[in-house]
Every structure is written in C-alpha cells, then in structure tokens.
C-alpha cells in the first residue's frame, strides 16, 4: 500500500502544474519572436495581455506549495522539491516577463522595417525554448546530469547573442540612423539571453532537488 497517498497526489499535481506553466512560458517566447519577425502588433499586444495568465498560474502553484508546507510538514527530498518549485516558479515567471518585454519592443517597432531579416534572434529563441523544455524534462525525471547538460548549452545562446550584438554594432557604426532600430533588436536579443540564464537557474534547483547541494554552475558573461 502506498503511504501518504494524498500528499503524493498533491505533490505530483504541483509537478504537473510546473509543466503546464513551463509550456505557457515556452509558447510566450515562441509567439513573441513570431510577432517580432512578422512585426505583428496584435499578436504582441495579445501576448502582453496573456502574461497575466502566467502570473496567475504562478500564484496558484505558489499557494499550493504553501498549503502543502503548512499542512504536511514535508521533509528531506519532499522539502527540497517544494522549496525548489517555489524558486523555479519565479524563474519561469521572469521568462514570461521577458517574452512580454519582447512584445513591448514589437509595439515600439510598429510598422518599421527590420534592418535585416532576422536569423540569429530566432535561433536564440529556438535554443532557449529547447533548453527550457529539456530543463522541465530533467525536473520531472529528477535527472541532475541532464540539468548540468542544459546549463552547458547556455554558452550557445551567449555566443549567438555576441554575434547578434556585433552584427548590429556594425550597422550602427556604418549608419547612425540605424541606431534606434538596431538597439531595439539588441534589447530583444538580450531578453532571450536573460531567459536562457533563468533556465540555468532552474537547472541549478533541479540539481539541488536531486543532490541536496547548491551549485552555482550557470555563471554567465552577461
């Protein structure tokens, strides 16, 4: 017979909620980049409004965690999981904010043509969302090695960001009239770079759940 059936069920429910919130955040990133590429103001505005749903989900999960701590006195691995979930929630919510931030940049850009077709920024988004998916997979499987591997992938995002930055800098040096447009794209890229950093924070929490050790692994250059 399984002991603590109710507690286990509620803990699994929280883990499932994290997956749901993770996929909401992933969709937000993908949509924000689509809106940026296509300069779709309606899509961007919708995404900014929908950020409230992510925030609401975050509070909903947080409340479940607090109730579980208050009523079930979780310990050891259970305690580490719940405390880490509270941290992961914050990280996910911030990634959602970055997606909303990119959408706000889309609103600023309006109908203005991009300087060039966007290639590396969508790549950064693909890489970041892949890292996010993998981190949540590592969370569910409680796989510290996988979490470490995801952290290592952050270098790719950083390199892409470097590339985007250098390229846009050349545009600005050549023609100062491009500064506004180039800066906005750098902001968008920076939001993605920060999102990937947040994913590495999530991975550090997963390592803590599994090993009980707090490791600072995702030290970014930015």
């Amino acid at each position: 017979m399984e002991i603590r059936t109710d507690f286990n069920r509620r803990l699994r429910e929280i883990q499932d909620d994290i997956l749901i919130m993770g996929s909401m955040v992933e969709t937000a990133i993908i949509t924000s980049i689509k809106a940026l590429k296509e300069r779709d103001i309606d899509m961007a505005q919708q995404l900014i409004n929908d950020d409230a749903l992510i925030n609401r989900k975050r509070f909903e999960i947080e409340e479940k965690c607090i109730k579980l701590i208050a009523t079930q006195q979780p310990l050891a691995g259970d305690l580490r999981t719940i405390i880490s979930v509270l941290n992961i929630l914050t990280e996910l919510e911030r990634v959602g904010d970055y997606a909303a931030g990119i959408s706000k940049i889309v609103l600023m850009i309006g109908n203005e043509e991009h300087l060039k077709p966007l290639i590396d920024i969508p790549r950064m988004a693909d890489k970041t969302t892949l890292m996010l998916r993998e981190s949540l997979d590592a969370f569910i499987k409680q796989d510290a090695d996988k979490a470490r591997a995801v952290i290592a992938e952050d270098d790719d995002v950083d390199n892409l960001y470097d590339q985007v930055f250098r390229e846009l800098l050349t545009f600005m040096i050549e023609d100062p009239r491009t500064i506004t447009r180039a800066t906005r794209l750098i902001w968008a890229a920076h939001n993605l770079e920060r999102s990937a950093d947040r994913v590495t924070n999530i991975c550090e929490r997963i390592i803590y759940i599994v090993t009980g050790k707090m490791e600072e692994l995702g030290a970014s250059n930015y």
Partner: protein, 267 residues
Amino acid sequence: MTEYNLNGQTCRGDKIKAKNLNFYYGSFQALRDINLDIPGCAITAIIGPSGCGKSSFLRLLNRMNDLIYGSRIEGTIELDGKNIFDKEVDVVDLRKNVGMVFQKPNPFPISIFDNIAFGPKQHGKKSKIELEEIVENSLKKAALWDEVKDKLGQSALALSGGQQQRLCIARVLSVEPQVILMDEPCSALDPMATLKIEDLMRTLAKNYTIIIVTHNMQQAARVSDTTAFFMMEPDRAGSLVEYGLTSEIFTNPKDKRTEDYITGRFG
C-alpha cells in the same frame, strides 16, 4: 572522533561514545553493533519506527536495563571516556549523573518541595537552607518557579500535566546531572506545554547533554542539534542507520531508508 559544527561552535562527539554495542533480551537481540559519538552541550534526538531499539539504547545510557532479567550487553558505552558497564562503576552515581525523564510525568505523591528535595536528601544533603536553595534553583532552571513558588507545600499531583513534567525535569536537575535522558517527554502533553518543554530543553542544552527519544519528527527537527535514525533489521534487531546534524538529516539525509522514514514513506 566525530566533530560537529553546532550553532557556529565546534563540538566534539566525545561526551558519550557507544562502541560496538550489542544488547540482548535473552536470546533476542535488541540492538546490533551500535557505534555512536554523542557531543556534550547539545541535544541529540533518536528517531525511528516502533521497536527499533531507540528506547532500549536510551535506557542503557543510565543502565536502567540492569534490572531486566536475562538482558546482556556486549561492547561499551563511555561517559567522559569511562565505560559505564565497568564493575567499579556505582550505578547510583551513574544515575545521578545521567538523569531520566519519562513519557508520562511521574511526580511522587508528596509536596512539590519534597519532590525536588528527595534526590539531594538521598545523596546526603540534610540542611534545610541548602535544600531550599536547591529546590528554588532547580525549579528556576526548569522554568517552573514562578508558577509554584507560593504553593511549594501543595501536592505535586495538583499540577497540570505540563507543570508535572517540568517538575520531573527539576527533580532530575536537583542532583546536578551532566546528562539528561528524555523518553518521549511530551507525548502526554498539549501543544503549548510541549513548546514550553522544548524551549526549556534549548535553555538547558547550554549546560547539559540532552538525549531525547521521540516519535514526533517535527519535534526532533525543532529541538535537536544532532539526530540518530535507528531501524529494525529483518531479525528485529535495532541498528543505527544514519547519524548527523539535524539540519542535514531533515533536509538531505544520506541513506534512502532515512529519507523514506522521515518523509513518511514507511514506518
């Protein structure tokens, strides 16, 4: 020697040392191969499922099991480096040094004053002034003085459960022990009385070595500095699974069996 960082202070696990300890009730082995270094000036909690030998271990520490017919001990328990099972050890002296508080408060059916004065009298303290001083000090240390100072002549049985338990702690303190053993000291008390005893334990831990057996995991987590987890082996002998800082045991136990027990997955 095991060293612990307790509350920012390094404590050596050298107050009580159990070495290769085996304990039998007749042919039944109750404890197997216990090796445990308990630091002084700290609270050590012993946790584990029913029948895992934690109370048996506690009772060995002041040789209460001597009285059980057919019981047998192998190995040693050292208190300050001296084996308590040595023939020359006076068991009355040992029990004065290592006091015990039980699950249910057990005051004598006499006055509050006489309850506390009883032990010191047995150990030769006769003068009234001296006894009054001991009674007052012991009751103060047990955080009971203010509640009973005006009714020291009344029967101890008129006190509430929580007060009776603090009286029993005062009674132990009256003979100036070094070690206080507590076997489920709060299981018969309400939550407020329990918290009072726990506060008292934290205060006493500055000057005494306290070892508490408890089924209440939260209590062990709240009150103790180090925790020992005992478990029953397939032949029902109790053994020590894991021992370490309470903060570690309750957040990141090393042994899967400890994890399963404290998270309520078995036991």
